[in-house]
Symmetry: C2
Subunit: 149 residues, 2 copies
């Protein structure tokens, strides 16, 4: 559906305004698709993202600082998201022996298994971008990089 119809706004001031609104709307749309998938597994989207970073480090631990550095949203509160994951036994948290200010966070076997299940589902949907060709996906990335120039 065209963005004009999605938000019931027949015209836009210019292509820039239209692109911005489309960007925000479409990103929300994709994230909602993903959230719906995660919900069946008792995970929220930020919790999933943290788990994925931890898997990237595995079997090495990550600190909260490393999580923040790699998170898509730098200003969110990694501490509290890790709290939730710890309650669900998907991660462990231990004081870092070499620097007692820091905390070593590790994904558990349960966490790894959960991610493994989700991988297959995400792969099927091409990460929610199944309507784009490979070339279009690359083109989209280039335009997005340009926005942040």
């Amino acid at each position: 559906m065209k963005i004009e119809d999605e938000i019931k706004q027949p015209t836009f001031k210019d292509n820039h305004q239209k692109a911005l609104i489309n960007l925000v709307f479409t990103t929300g749309w994709v994230q909602q698709q993903q959230s719906a998938l995660f919900k069946g597994y008792g995970l929220t989207l930020p919790q999933f993202n943290i788990l994925r970073i931890l898997r990237g480090q595995h079997p090495k631990p990550a600190t909260v600082n490393l999580l923040i550095e790699r998170m898509l949203d730098k200003t969110s509160n990694a501490s509290r998201i890790v709290d939730k994951l710890e309650v669900k036994k998907l991660v462990t948290r231990t004081v870092c022996p070499s620097n007692r200010r820091a905390v070593d966070i590790r994904i558990t076997e349960t966490g790894l298994e959960l991610l493994h299940q989700l991988d297959a589902e995400l792969e099927n949907r091409r990460n929610g971008l199944q309507h784009l060709t490979d070339e279009e996906a690359a083109q989209l990335s280039n335009l997005l990089d340009k926005i942040r120039d």
Copy 2:
């Protein structure tokens, strides 16, 4: 900066995964730019979006349902965002005379003046997409429409 460097991830599984991550990251980036602008005026981004919808209706009133229908994020809680705007005297809320279940929400003169100030700032920045040409903005919109096909 390329997305690989932004989130310190040297490679992606494929162009689809890269595009998704870039989409989420860039949208967050643009919204943060905008939030910073609104902050100087005591507004949050969702509050601004509601005000803009109300201006579109002005001088007719809007109901909460209409706001939800037009909001970019359909699942957010329009009632409580209107609460905040009412406290700031940027909107008024009166029971709808023809349907006493509904509430007529209107932007005030103060609200209109505030939006007018913000218009100029947003125009200067081409809504945060100042690095895109007109053609690129249109191209981006087309790719985004395709994602939601």
